[in-house]
């Protein structure tokens, strides 16, 4: 089974979020970058588990500049076999999905996995667009994934429960919590990653369909009103009369 995992770079979750150039660009100064958690913990690890159990290969793909190479090396250290980096500064999900679709068609993959969403764009868009471009079934927010023969079996949470779905390969899946357990790369993996192929590919050159004009930070929250622990009735009163939420 040939598996493609879409990996993106995200600021570490504790990073201070600031903008530059008149609030049009994210200020990367002093920011530590990580593999987007959903891509790493769930999509990548489940792909590696499936390969370990059933054979095949795991390739990662990233659309972005050379500044992505450290996070790609980390994915290789965790256990991906090789990596593709499409050398392009993508500015929206349609560009990313189109570039990945072009490579996925060349590679002929059985399974394409991505994360539920990136923690910087919070789009949850790339996987669905990719599936449409590949004319493949798409199951977002999967919490379990198994493959037997040419059938994928996927569990996902729905309102008030969960559903189990099946679809014929090739399928595109976005991974949510539950699909796998995080793996920490070991020394051997880190050494091995150095000699694995990170193939830099030229972009097909898709145009973006949306554009971020500017960013802003939310207004600072007003001060907290403290209520005496002996008198929670005061809280109820305030929620009713002042905040008007109950």
């Amino acid at each position: 089974m040939k598996i493609l995992v879409c990996i993106s770079k995200a600021p570490d979750t504790t990073s201070k979020i600031a903008f530059k150039d008149n609030n049009t660009a994210f200020d990367e100064n002093g920011v530590q970058f990580i593999v987007n958690p959903y891509d790493e913990w769930y999509a990548l690890v489940r792909a590696i588990e499936l390969k370990e159990a059933q054979g095949g290969s795991v390739t990662t793909i990233t659309v972005g500049g050379a500044d992505n190479d450290p996070i790609i090396r980390k994915a290789l250290a965790i256990g991906a076999d090789d990596a593709i980096r499409v050398d392009m500064e993508a500015t929206d999900a349609f560009q990313v999905a189109s570039e990945i679709a072009a490579k996925a068609k060349e590679g002929g993959f059985d399974l394409v996995l991505c994360g539920k969403e990136t923690i910087n764009n919070n789009g949850a868009v790339v996987g669905g667009m990719l599936a449409e471009l590949l004319d493949a079934p798409y199951i977002p927010l999967a919490t379990k994934l198994d493959v037997s023969g040419t059938t994928a079996e996927i569990t996902r949470d729905i309102a008030g429960g969960e559903e189990v779905l099946t679809a014929q390969l090739p399928v595109v899946i976005s991974a949510a919590k539950g699909m796998a357990e995080q793996r920490i790369p070991n020394m051997r993996g880190i050494m091995a990653a150095r000699s694995k192929a990170l193939n830099v590919a030229a972009p097909a050159g898709t145009e973006a369909s949306t554009e971020v004009k500017s960013y802003s930070l939310p207004p600072a929250k007003g001060d907290c009103t403290y209520i005496d622990a002996e008198n929670p009735a005061e809280l109820i009163k305030k929620l009713h009369e002042e905040a008007k939420v109950i």
Binding site: M129, V164, L165
Partner: protein
């Protein structure tokens, strides 16, 4: 040139998130001087409750029986073309996340998801990015536009428009997905977390799963859903679907009560869109107080029972 809106349904009724999207679509249509057409699939009963929210027409794709994103995207495209719609609205809920990206590709439209504002005159919209730590203001570069709105961000916007229901059978091919099994975990009457207006949430400060009785009682008295921090669902004290935060569910209730949760940045990322936040924590230095509107510094095991008691007397006298 109508505005098209996608409607999902459960047990024959349009979902709350969909009705929110219909109300939003109506406002966009008013802005553009046009009307709203809605599209849904087989299984809705009558208008499913869509009437009263602003859609003049509801098109039911009668040949789609399950929520297959590939088929639904084709149906949305067919309806958009029939209605001449350049703007299509979705809710950014589970099904919207599956269908909107596919529909946008088919329509050659730009897509912005998780939108929290009405479009401005240039049809630019805003959305949360960096897990709620910032807002991005986004413009479309395409003639057609797909906007997927954040659930609970707008609330219900009723509108006096009568809705004509009709069926159609778009070319959608065969379903690519088969439902093998549906497991219900929620007990009857339990409120699904992403749709809940009021949420009571608890963290590791509660010490063990046996102590959740008071949290459930408080939630029940309020008519709220329950949620938890990540470590709590990781250790298995509570089910995974209750985990809120960056890696769990992101919610935007009108009231979020956090009991024994420290307020780590990754937790806040999933709840900082709440209208009012109440924090109950025995540590006055807990970071959550910085994000709170109301705070009680105290031991949850003493404060929560008193709060339930106060709530009961409030309900009795109101």
């Amino acid at each position: 040139m109508s505005v098209l809106v996608f409607v999902d349904h459960h047990n024959g009724k349009a979902s709350k998130a969909s009705l929110e999207a219909v109300g939003y679509a109506k406002k966009v249509a008013d802005q553009l001087g046009t009307d709203v057409a809605a599209i849904t699939y087989n299984g809705i009963e009558g208008d499913g409750g869509v009437a009263g929210f602003g859609a003049s027409r509801l098109h039911v794709a009668s040949n789609i029986t399950l929520a297959d994103s590939g088929q639904l995207a084709k149906a949305v495209q067919a309806a958009a073309e029939a209605e001449g719609a350049d703007v299509v609205i979705f809710s950014h809920d589970d099904l919207g996340k599956a269908v909107a990206p596919r529909a946008a590709v088919r329509l050659q439209a730009g897509l912005v998801t998780g939108v929290t504002t009405m479009p401005n005159a240039e049809l630019e919209v805003s959305k949360n990015v960096f897990s709620g730590k910032a807002t991005a203001h986004v413009s479309f570069k395409t003639a057609k536009k797909v906007i997927s709105i954040l659930p609970n961000a707008f609330g219900m916007m009723p509108s006096e428009v009568s809705t004509a229901v009709s069926t159609f059978t778009p070319e959608v091919g065969a379903a690519q997905i088969t439902v093998k099994e549906v497991k219900t975990t929620a007990s009857d009457g339990e409120i699904p977390l992403p749709e809940a207006d009021l949420v009571v949430s608890a963290g590791r400060g509660l010490k063990g799963p046996e102590n959740w009785g008071m949290i459930e009682e408080l939630a029940q008295e309020l008519g709220a859903a329950t949620a938890c921090s990540r470590p709590v669902s990781d250790i298995g004290w509570r089910p995974h679907h209750e985990h809120v935060g960056q890696t769990g569910v992101a919610i935007r209730p009108t009231l979020y009560i956090a009991v024994g949760i420290s307020g780590a940045i990754q937790h806040l990322a999933g709840v900082n869109g709440s209208k009012v936040i109440v924090v109950i924590n025995k540590d006055p230095e807990a970071p959550f107080f910085k994000a709170a509107d109301y705070g009680i510094v105290g031991d949850a095991f003493e404060v929560v029972p008193k709060l339930i008691h106060a709530l009961k007397s409030f309900k009795a006298s109101n």
